[in-house]
């Protein structure tokens, strides 16, 4: 049986036992209540992402109006603040198709920064993979994609949209957090040595312009920021009580709980432990760093882990300090198997501890890209510990499934045309 089918079947059984058996404690917690709260948290996280992005947008206006070290620093601080709630929302990916379809616009990574702006000569000038590798939209009002000329004389949100994944190359990331990050910090040319990108504020100073085309750079930054605000607004709407994503997740108790667990497991193991962390360790490559321009990677990973725990416990601390709490997956699991609930919570906490060690090291000793460098046993071990935590917690996520005795359950009616999605068994 497939994982998701197993999960679905398990949840059917699970839901039945929770709703119809006389569980003493927390008998009031139903899958429907858990899903309702899950959607409420999603809306809160996307609202927080939106308000912090709006603050970033204002800081960018200030930078463009009066470029200075202070306004650039403020914009960078606003970007880092904006990443906190957004990364905590990432656990809503994977299980929710609407989020998956949308996500690339705001958080696509890795990106070939040469598409956007000037890059150091060491970047190389051509990539067969990506004809736009050093296209430099900011310097060139006209571009060629597959022989077709594209007019970027006016840099608008629409232009950026059309450039996103241009030429079918996924690294042509024209929009989202990481495009903005590059425009604020610039390239990190330090390899696995200390230091983030060092873009000077004069890159936005039309009177004393460095890097050329300061007006177009400003227009790009503003357009990217405008799009980010608009895209986050769409997600807030999608998670409103009558929004599309909320309706989807609440439509079917089993499918909804499956979405929660899929998001937790997929983000923990494949996405975060794997693609974002293990690959960098494997290759010792500083390019394999999620927030590579700003050296904010440690925070990005930590907030992902906080988000994963939040999806389980139903707890979230908003950017204004408000604490939210409600019916959770934890309540459901505890009602069924207290020990398992304890186990998984312990593992989620262990991951957070390891992530916090990584954060401390990043703030006090060395940046994340240094930690993954070759011949840095200590740094490597700190990252590996966080990876191990993520993998370990996924095993408990799978145990949540296994504890419900899923192995022997087969979906009834799988050979019926009533279910067009059925598969032959």
């Amino acid at each position: 049986m497939t994982r998701k089918t197993l999960l679905g079947a398990a949840m059917a059984l699970f839901a039945a036992s929770t709703m119809f058996s006389s569980m003493p404690a927390r008998a009031e917690t139903t899958p429907a209540a858990v899903l309702k709260h899950y959607a409420e948290l999603a809306q809160a996280k996307y609202e927080d992402s939106l308000t912090t992005a709006q603050a970033l947008d204002k800081a960018i206006d200030a930078l463009i109006a009066k470029p200075s070290d202070a306004t650039l620093k403020a914009a960078k601080a606003a970007w880092i603040a904006a990443r906190v709630p957004y990364q905590q929302s990432e656990v809503y990916r994977f299980g929710n198709p609407i989020v998956d379809e949308w996500e690339g616009k705001v958080n696509a990574w890795p990106l070939d920064e040469g598409l956007i702006d000037y890059v150091d000569a060491s970047y190389g000038t051509e990539s067969d993979e990506n004809a736009l590798y050093t296209a430099n939209v900011i310097a060139n009002p006209k571009l060629k994609i597959n022989g077709e000329e594209i007019d970027v004389t006016e840099i608008t949100p629409e232009t950026l949209r059309s450039l996103h994944e241009a030429g079918e190359i996924e690294a042509n990331v024209a929009t989202g957090y990481h495009a903005i990050e590059f425009l604020l910090w610039g390239q990190d040319l330090n390899g696995t040595e200390a230091g983030a990108g060092k873009r000077p504020y004069t890159d936005y100073d039309k009177a004393n312009c460095t890097g050329g085309n300061c007006d177009r750079r400003a227009a790009y930054l503003k357009a990217a920021s405008t799009l980010l605000v608009a895209d986050l607004g769409d997600m807030v709407k999608a998670w409103a009580p009558d929004g599309e994503a909320t309706k989807n997740v609440e439509a079917d108790g089993n499918a909804g709980l499956t979405a929660i667990l899929t998001g937790m497991g997929s983000l923990s193991y494949g996405e975060l432990a794997g693609e974002r962390m293990k690959l960098g360790l494997l290759l010792h490559d500083p390019e394999e760093e999620h927030d590579c321009f700003s050296d904010n990677t440690y925070a990005s990973h930590l907030n992902d882990a906080i988000g994963i725990k939040s999806a389980y416990t139903g707890e979230y601390t908003r950017v204004d300090g408000t604490k939210m709490k409600g019916p959770s997956l934890s309540d459901l699991v505890a009602a069924k198997d207290k020990a398992l609930d304890k186990e998984i919570k312990g593992k989620l906490d262990a991951t957070l501890t390891a992530m916090n060690v990584m954060k401390d090291r990043a703030q006090k000793v060395e940046a994340y890209d240094q930690m993954i460098g070759e011949n840095n046993a200590k740094g490597n071990a700190v990252v590996q510990k966080a990876i191990d935590g993520l993998i370990d917690q996924t095993k408990s996520i799978e145990r949540v499934i296994a504890s419900l005795d899923l192995g022997k359950i087969e979906l009834e009616g799988s050979d019926s045309l009533d279910n067009p999605d059925a598969v032959f068994k």
């Binding site: 998956d100 067969d128 193991y269 494949g270 799978e398 067009p420 598969v423 032959f424």
Partner: protein, 512 residues
């Protein structure tokens, strides 16, 4: 790139294995199982029943939405439609998939470089990353603008010249023979300081074809040549075979089809007299030398996805792997400057440029890209088109269904009812499509039937509709009209259809 070949260099590696297994060096498929060895009698019957082609076009078939069985993706259809993992893999496998994906998109750089784990490109190469050709894990295309020849290249080969060489092919030790200077494929790129092999040239001639109802369709007939040759002329009997990168979806499922089910459709001597033969390709496993059923590549020249992937790493990108330890890629002895270039081998990381687990991860990734679910299977036009597809005889080679083996290496691929629309056999496709290049058992007119699943999403994923091995067809109609040889009757049936029926057939294909 998706087209692969056995390496001439592999011969020394293989010959050792062959000495150990002389018994298999005979020219027949007699070693391959003729019946399902993985099923009990009850399941055999169930499989026979469920894979029987339908005769009822009044409604969709059972399970038809899920082209890849439980490995089918139901993600929202967009440009990422070919990039999803099968939903029935485990969380742990999902990590391998994602690592494989990251390596698949990774740009390899020339040696020496500061990121030593990522260098070793070339010295001669067609692409710097897998994804350069397999754009969005989809279909490559012929160069349309100035600077994007990447998703297509030329395979070079000459036929056997001596009895000894003929014997090597008869024995499956060789597929064909490389150009003495340029090797097995024409690399149009080289690392700094080295001349590239040259440039691929294409010219097209428009040929009008009149259909039964009077509509005229223009087919473009390509002619291929090379220019700016960096290392002197090609040998006189070397042929050029252009290949575009094929879509990456569903390959693990194809690998899990039981040999007996593919052999059951083979009719090499056309004993049933339907004008369609269908020949199983026998090839050697690159590592063990074992004789296996070839099922991957335009000429069915590889038995496994791992063989295909290692070949691509080394031939297309110039990166050596544990299976293909040739850090100079496709450089030949005659290309001394190429052989003198530095490689990306770091002894402390392993003896090759892409040490394990790189190849295993990319192989895993390639095995687990999900086939998208069908759309509109109940639409009356789709059903009408499906009927036309069957009645025109397309299914004689584009076999609709298989049930994969129960003992598949990956559980996610086991015992799935799949709808690839291919028999994975070699067929003579006529002179129009011929490349004149022998590849093992496939002569210069024979090609492996291409699977059709996902074909309707080509535009969505790749923003073009160039089809066939070299992308000459600009849409599905042209692709069908290029069919000849064993497919001549089916092609004629399509050409003779009225506009409405033709459109319905195309609508059916668009729903795949």
């Amino acid at each position: 790139m998706g087209a692969f070949r056995a390496f001439p260099y592999l011969l020394p590696v293989l010959s050792g294995a062959l000495v150990l297994v002389p018994l298999i060096a005979t020219g027949s498929d007699s070693q391959l199982p003729k019946a399902r060895t993985d099923l009990n009698p009850k399941d055999v019957k169930r499989v026979e029943r469920v894979t029987r082609p339908t005769a009822d076009f009044s409604k969709a078939e059972q399970f038809e939405t899920m082209s890849g069985g439980a490995a089918t993706t139901k993600a929202i259809v967009n440009g990422d439609a070919f990039s999803h993992f099968s939903p029935n893999i485990t969380f742990e496998e999902e990590q391998n998939f994602k690592l494989g994906n990251a390596l698949f998109t990774k740009l390899w750089v020339s040696s020496p470089s500061s990121t030593q784990a990522s260098d070793g490109l070339g010295p001669l190469f067609n692409a710097r990353a897998c994804q350069s050709c397999h754009l969005k894990d989809g279909r490559g295309h012929p160069p349309e603008g100035a600077a994007d020849a990447t998703s297509m290249f030329l395979r070079l080969a000459r036929p056997a010249r001596t009895d000894e060489e003929r014997e090597a092919i008869g024995d499956y030790r060789k597929l064909n023979f490389p150009d003495a200077v340029y090797g097995e494929q024409f690399q149009d790129l080289a690392v700094p300081g080295l001349a590239s092999e040259g440039k691929m040239e294409i010219s097209y001639e428009e040929i009008p074809v009149t259909l039964g109802d009077g509509e005229v369709v223009s087919l473009r007939k390509p002619t291929y040549s090379v220019s700016n040759l960096g290392y002197g002329p090609l040998e006189g009997d070397v042929t050029l075979s252009p290949r575009i990168a094929p879509p990456m979806i569903g390959m693990g499922l194809i690998q899990a089809i039981h040999e007996a089910d593919i052999l059951a459709n083979a009719d090499p001597d056309d004993k049933d007299g339907d004008g369609i033969s269908g020949k199983a390709a026998l090839v050697r496993d690159h590592m063990t030398g074992e004789l296996k059923l070839g099922r991957f590549g335009f000429k069915a020249q590889n038995a496994s996805i791992r063989d295909q992937s290692s070949g691509a790493f080394t031939g297309d990108i110039g990166i050596s792997t544990p299976d293909t330890p040739f850090s100079h890629g496709d450089c030949t002895k005659a290309q001394a400057a190429c052989l003198a270039m530095p490689t990306g081998v770091q002894e402390r990381l392993g003896p090759v440029e892409a040490p394990d687990p790189v190849l295993s991860l990319v192989t895993f990734y390639s095995e687990n890209l999900a086939v998208p679910a069908r759309r509109d299977i109940d639409d009356p036009t789709v059903l009408k088109g499906k009927e036309m597809f069957y009645s025109a005889g397309c299914t004689a080679c584009h076999t609709p269904k298989f049930v994969t083996r129960r003992d598949a290496g990956n559980k996610a691929h086991a015992f799935q009812l799949i709808w690839p629309y291919s028999d994975f056999l070699l067929h003579d496709m006529g002179e129009g499509l011929a490349d004149g290049q022998q590849v093992g058992m496939a002569n210069g007119q024979e090609w492996r039937t291409q699977p059709l699943w996902g074909i309707g999403l080509t535009k969505t994923v790749n923003n073009h509709t160039f089809f066939l091995h070299d992308g000459r067809a600009r849409n599905l109609t042209e692709a069908i009209l290029w069919h000849g040889g064993e497919a001549e009757a089916a092609r004629s049936a399509f050409a003779a259809m009225g506009k409405q029926d033709r459109t319905a057939l195309l609508t059916f294909l668009e729903s795949l």
